[in-house]
Symmetry: D2
Subunit: 280 residues, 4 copies
């Protein structure tokens, strides 16, 4: 049923990789992945990370894909995060002023790179008249205090709410998961009776952002030349399919070898290919 | 459009009152309410509180309805809380052993009165092999730590999850609301892909519990002799209607005089009567 | 893992049976079921059918449980349908006048037994000023014409909408399913942005209706003396558990032997017992 | 609060118009609209229709925007329908073979223009082994027969299901609405427990499709040079905002002058501008 990723990769000029469950786990980069990526580059493939993550900047992520004593595998503009889509939104639609956020200080990068002033949700916020609220990361604030404050801020001041990572949960440590900022966004949507503006896989905008960047470098690139590789049917594969890319499911993360067949049937989401991992 | 509550109450032998927005706010019992309730009792009416609340015992609530230097207005078995339904469930379906909970220590009352051992969600919980998780109250724990622990507990050990108060938000202080335990339950349901067992208005079991208790005292009581009085269409009125009671919406809480008409239309929930408050 | 139903039934005074998948399929009563039910009665058990069905009257259903040349197994008041809850609602809350419905003519029984005038949804309906709309059955009308007319009726006239059977689908013939009236109700709820009043398992009112009727005959009956037997976790077992009854899942219908274990885990719904069928 | 559309249009090089409620109603093109569009073209503006509609081809739609005895206002490639996105998907992901559909025969255009064989849902379909199911339009088939057949087709053969128009309802005649194919898609999603692949506003892919086509003609075009004009907050405005365009709400369709302010607050969706209509 599964095929060799090495062989499969021959047929594509450009490969988009999900990060968690494909290249790494919460314990770090998988053994052998950096060599595998280096080899792909050696064979002339363009490679990109396409990840639902707004917890830190692409620069900070780049550093984690660096072999000991060597240059990083990815250049900074080869790392596409859902946070970058929030930056685009803020640039196009907010343009100036203060923007409130929930997340770690490092995640505020995505507000600041739009030229705006990032202010953590807090009691003294109202006087600054924030023009938007951005949900960036599940850490860096007190959930009880700041989630309730964020809810009352939006109730009393009509402002757009942007969710910079739609994931509901993330793998936190062996066998455990944590509630991600996309889960907290769902809580606030239920409590406020509103739908926020969400960025990240499976939404097509992140695939479009990555595809346009890849085509800037290789102008002849067509959708059929790109392979999206991910470990999650509902985000990587569903979104990649919808955007019109070929898709490969890997069994090194979220989706186990014992369950992918029944999940594909239950969800009606079918990748073009299934591979054990990118190392096989 | 609105009618006098005093007049209306003449037609019923038994009246069920929602607490928040009808009898009291977060600042305390509304002025005049205790006199009004006393007068109803004087006119031979049976009165009950029917409230979505599992934060403290009916005994503790009883104390708040006590005129200075007088006896409490309600007897303890005239206060029906959604927490009591969780107790019933635990008695019928769990019967013995440890039960994990999220909430203040006072809310654990609803586990203990079922004869079970209540243990707050925490790291050392797994060794006790809890037989159920009960979501009681939004305070008394660290949201980040304990919500994530509760999620992983349920993922690793299949157990029933009981929600002892389905409200999503509650009025916390002037013009502000807080996320209630029913909202946190929605977050965990989304994260786990499961539906929990929820008690409290509009679910009919709390109305049935109250009606059976009222009929125990007044055996000839029929549903048509009972009036449910509440300030919220989607819980008090929708649930009261579904259970077959007559219903009166009051405009002293959640639902404003300026909006009740359009809300009734939008939601398709229509009370038998609308009153300014129970004081008019 | 599974236990003998015959042995299990010894421990209960009263047994509630779901119909489809437990006693029968779309092809008719399962072989051996009538003998099994007769034997239970011979051993002094009270038995009831508790079914999500508003397509025809309990009388009409009674006839199908009749051994050749013998009396029916069930008396008419031992057949509890979700349609009866709609009748209760109409009696308590509507009381007089015209009521519009979607369903076969035979399903209008549940409106008429409340003493009301049943009128099928149709163009000339508005002049009759119907006081409620009841969704009874998926057959007996043109879906395109009447679903759209029902939607516009509710948009232009605020009225309660009652769903007399919450099932989304039903087994129609070998390996196939059909969309039930509960599914059409979901469509109308989405289109109208409203929540209707729904009756039928897992909602506790049908269990309460059945339990009160059983206790009328056997006044000492307690919840712990009743076993709910069903083939569907999300309705029979979830609702039976919530109401406080013991529950047995049978593997003769919706839920296959190969999947019940993983379904129980995924949905977090656990019956007290699992039996192959009621014949074992 | 509202501003003149004529003045506003001066600031943009390119304008995207929603069709229903902006340019026309179910009774036809609004009086004065064709002159207004002609004038915009005369002032050098590029104009496009961006519509959730897969009921007929862009060619067929083009004909409706034709002044008596003159050339059509729009060229065929200035009409962007959600159906075109379904065509793109089929081209990229299905590529050859038979594709099943629900809709009028004219709507099958969107399958045929992808070079595929369109087959209406029907009993004899299974032998053709369709590779996908496309939901195109709410007319052209018997709802009871074909919706149930479509459900069983997808249950027995795992295939992608594409929704070529996500609208839940559409204005059918004065004051009335009809259930659109997006509503029927929701019914099938609930019945199958699956999420389909949906195209059309507010999903960003239709905005991206339109923007790329507009930029092909005017290569210097940036998002800030484009104004999206629509009558519906949740589709035209929410989607336009998310894609990064400036947005104008008009009050000539779905959204009434009396309600837009409270709707903007309730939904948290705010256009850059509000205009009475495009004629003012």
């Amino acid at each position: 049923m599964t095929i060799s990723f090495e062989e499969l990769s021959d047929s594509y000029e450009c490969i988009f990789f999900d990060a968690f469950g494909v290249l790494k786990s919460s314990a770090g980069i998988y053994d052998g992945v950096l060599d595998c990526l280096e080899a792909l580059k050696g064979r002339g493939k363009d490679i990109y990370v396409v990840t639902n993550d707004a917890s830190k900047s692409p620069d900070a992520m780049m550093a984690t894909y660096t072999p000991a004593g060597a240059a990083p595998i990815f250049e900074v503009d080869e790392i596409i995060t859902s946070g970058l889509l929030a930056t685009e939104y803020l640039k196009n639609k907010v343009r100036s002023g203060h923007v409130a956020y929930l997340g770690k200080e490092a995640s505020a990068h995505y507000i600041e790179r739009a030229g705006l002033e990032a202010v953590p949700v807090g009691l003294e916020l109202e006087s600054l008249q924030p023009k938007a609220l951005v949900l960036l990361d599940d850490e860096g604030f007190d959930w009880f205090e700041q989630i309730n404050q964020a809810m009352n801020l939006v109730r009393s001041h009509n402002m757009p709410v942007i969710v910079a990572n739609t994931d509901i949960t993330y793998p936190s440590k062996a066998q455990e998961v944590g509630i991600a900022i996309g889960g907290l966004a769902s809580l606030l949507e239920v409590a406020l009776g509103r739908q926020f503006t969400r960025f990240g896989k499976p939404d097509p905008m992140i695939f479009n952002y990555a595809f346009e960047r890849a085509r800037a470098r290789r102008p002849s690139l067509e959708k059929k030349d790109v392979l999206m590789v991910g470990d999650t049917l509902s985000t990587d594969i569903h979104g990649g399919n919808k955007y019109g890319l070929d898709t490969a499911l890997v069994l090194s993360g979220n989706t186990l070898a014992s369950q992918y067949d029944s999940l594909m049937k239950a969800q009606g989401i079918v990748p073009n290919y299934v591979c054990e991992s990118i190392l096989t």
